[in-house]
């Protein structure tokens, strides 16, 4: 979901920029005085810069509303399931691997040896959440599975020669 939005947004802006570069390259064949160009386009730049600044502030405010490492507010009487995850070369120790749909889960992720990445993939092999697993520290991921199925954990930080084989499964019923 987020991936698609990101991909399309990037593509649109990249194509836009490429188009501008192309137009300017085509227009470069003409030859005009520089002074008037500077004057005109400096003015345009002020406008364009202002729009960018507003865009940046807007997008920042929008995307920072819900940052994933803020602990969600649980409703009265609802206790999250706390799952301890320990990564090691090359595997996972996960205290609990079966969950129910709608059950709030907190993964407390750490590592025995080197840095690893704890990435949760859904049934369609799309990442839905991740955090770093690092020695001496515990990172947290908050998640509530919406759909039943088998989820996979892959390592998302290069950790040695069997990095790509560090797989674990979670089952959501």
């Amino acid at each position: 979901m987020v991936q698609m939005v990101a991909w399309i947004t990037s593509l649109v802006f990249m194509l836009l920029i490429a188009a501008v570069f192309l137009v300017v390259a085509i227009k470069s064949k003409e030859k005009r005085e520089y002074e008037p160009i500077v004057k005109k386009w400096y003015k345009a730049r002020t406008f364009y810069g202002a729009i960018l600044v507003i865009l940046i502030i807007g997008v920042s405010l929008y995307t920072l509303r819900l940052i994933p490492f803020n602990q969600p507010v649980y409703s009265e009487g609802e206790e999250p399931t706390i799952v301890d995850v320990e990564a090691f070369q090359f595997g996972w120790n996960i205290t609990e691997t079966e969950f129910k749909v709608g059950e709030p889960v907190e993964f407390h992720v750490t590592s025995q040896d080197v840095n690893h990445g704890f990435g949760i993939y859904d049934e369609d092999m799309e990442i839905i959440a991740q955090t770093q697993a690092m020695p001496d520290y515990t990172n947290k991921v908050y998640i509530t599975f919406d759909e039943p199925g088998t989820y996979e954990i892959l390592c998302l930080e290069y950790c040695g020669l069997a990095h790509h084989q560090m797989v674990a499964e979670l089952v959501v019923k």
């Binding site: 470069s28 520089y34 160009i37 090359f90 990442i127």
Partner: protein, 493 residues
């Protein structure tokens, strides 16, 4: 031959040597890159150990080559304005070659495969995949390289301070506050060099600190360090050092486009303000590599996101915009040098977009360490820094010798452009479908983009080889004693 000419020639010789080393390193690095894509695409087979060794060498060589080429560009143009030490340039090149050999020996002879980011404590804890000696060869090699670059930037800082009074003045702060007129502002080449001097000195200091931490830990694993500190230092080093290459490379764009269009590209006040912003942002945004470490202080992570956004402004509003403006209706004569310079600005600008997108914490949550990340920097570095490098090569060849460019070169230009767009695009697509980065094997559904990327990569290597051949032709002509007509240098003399 006048004394001046001799001096210039020996100076150019060093630069030319440095560019040859870069060109060859880039080709070798790219070949390893293509092999990795072929393996991921399931088209050839390799042991994971081999794959990760290639990964390590590819990253190290590419970053090293980009830095070496970029410093050559910076040095060449900066030396028109300030007095730089040729001895230091030579020492840096020698140390770089020693480092490259050590890194190669460590990787291939002793099977070190801890990636170029040497994230503590991986060099020491390899699950017995590699030993102490391999790790030490690699780490000390990197340290040697760091020493060379540090000396180089100390020298550029010294020279700028000597000429302009202080690094602040090198960035034109006295012009910004209105103490000095805009027309007396330091030229763009000096401003960029000052910025890079500041940020890279910081980067190299953090880099050497974390390297020494790793070295001690490898020698005696009982001696441990704080892994979060190590991570911060590593990314402060890696992020700044990689970014600085483009800020050095862009000097060639400033110098070339101004010359080709016969339009001035001066440091205006806005230009100076934005370069100062770039200086601070480049130093401060590295936490966007740590967005997935929730143990980091929250304000640092939010700063990482917000400043990453803001860091897009200088390039989008000043540098790229300036390049477009200077080319627009200028009647410019396009050749390889000017074409590549223009292309590099495109690469830089569009490469910034996926980076900005990924620096949002919510997006990073699902895209961090997927192939989206290499997608962004292959555009930014591959189509940006590398294009600047070869733009500079063609400039030297033409300016020094008047060497003619052929249709082959032109074809190579387009192969290179579409090839790299293909490579980066395939990476970005992989990232969008959640393909993890740095995986020796791919699931079947991830293989398509990798195969496409490999084919596009082959196009790029062919193009780069043609570029390098052109450059080597230039050297052979040059060595016949036909000293060229560097009008710029002559004017200086």
């Amino acid at each position: 031959m006048s004394e001046m000419m001799v001096r210039l020639k020996s100076r150019n010789n060093l630069i030319v040597t440095q560019m040859v080393v870069t060109g060859l390193t880039v080709i070798v690095g790219m070949i390893f890159g293509i092999i990795m894509l072929l393996v991921q695409g399931g088209m050839i087979e390799a042991m994971p150990a081999t794959f990760y060794q290639f990964l390590t060498i590819h990253g190290t060589f590419m970053i090293g080559a980009a830095a070496l080429a970029a410093t050559a560009i910076m040095w060449y143009f900066l030396s028109h304005y300030v007095e730089l030490s040729k001895k230091i340039l030579k020492i840096n090149l020698v140390l770089f070659i020693i480092a490259a050999v050590m890194v190669t020996v460590g990787t291939f002879s002793f099977e070190y495969a801890g990636a170029w980011t040497f994230l503590y404590p991986l060099p020491a804890l390899s699950a017995s995949a590699w030993g102490t000696i391999g790790a030490l060869f690699y780490l000390i090699g990197m340290l040697v390289m760091g020493v060379g670059f540090l000396l180089l930037f100390i020298d550029s800082g010294r020279a700028i301070i000597k000429k302009y009074g202080s690094l602040g003045k090198g960035l034109g702060w006295d012009v910004i506050i209105g103490k000095k007129a805009e027309k007396d502002a330091p030229p763009p080449a000096v401003v960029a060099s000052t910025m890079v001097t500041i940020v890279n000195t910081t980067a190299l200091l953090s880099g050497s600190t974390v390297l020494i931490m790793n070295i001690i830990n490898v020698i005696n694993p009982a001696f441990t360090f704080n892994p979060l500190l190590a991570k911060n230092l590593t990314y402060a080093f890696g992020h700044i050092f990689a970014n600085a290459t483009i800020y050095m490379g862009v000097i060639v764009v400033y110098e070339l486009l101004a010359r080709y269009t016969k339009r001035p590209w001066n440091s205006s006040r806005v230009f100076l303000v934005f370069w100062t912003m770039s200086t601070f942002f480049t130093l401060l945004v590295y936490p966007h590599h740590l967005l997935m470490d929730s143990v980091m202080p929250r304000w640092m992570l939010i700063m990482g996101q917000v400043l990453s956004y803001a860091n897009g402004l200088p390039v989008l509003v000043v540098t790229a915009y300036g390049a477009l403006m200077i080319v627009y209706k200028s009647g410019i004569k396009w050749d390889m040098a000017s074409g590549l310079a223009y292309l590099s600005m495109l690469g830089w600008t569009i490469g910034v977009i996926p980076a900005i997108v990924d620096s949002a914490i919510v997006v990073n949550h699902v895209m961090h360490n997927t192939k989206w990340v290499p997608g962004h920097f292959h555009m930014y570095m591959g189509l940006g820094v590398i294009a600047m490098t070869f733009s500079f090569m063609y400039f030297l060849a033409k300016n020094d010798n008047g060497l003619k460019e052929t249709m082959v070169d032109k074809t190579a230009f387009f192969m290179y452009m579409f090839g790299l767009i293909g490579v980066s695009g395939s990476f970005l697509t992989s990232g969008a479908i959640s393909t993890p980065r740095r995986f020796a094997t791919h699931l079947p559904e991830w293989m398509g983009p990798a195969q496409f990327g490999a084919v596009a990569g082959i196009l790029v290597v062919i193009a780069i080889t043609i570029f390098v051949i052109h450059f080597i032709r230039y050297i052979s002509v040059r060595n016949k004693g036909n000293i060229g007509s560097d009008y710029y240098d002559k004017k200086l003399a």
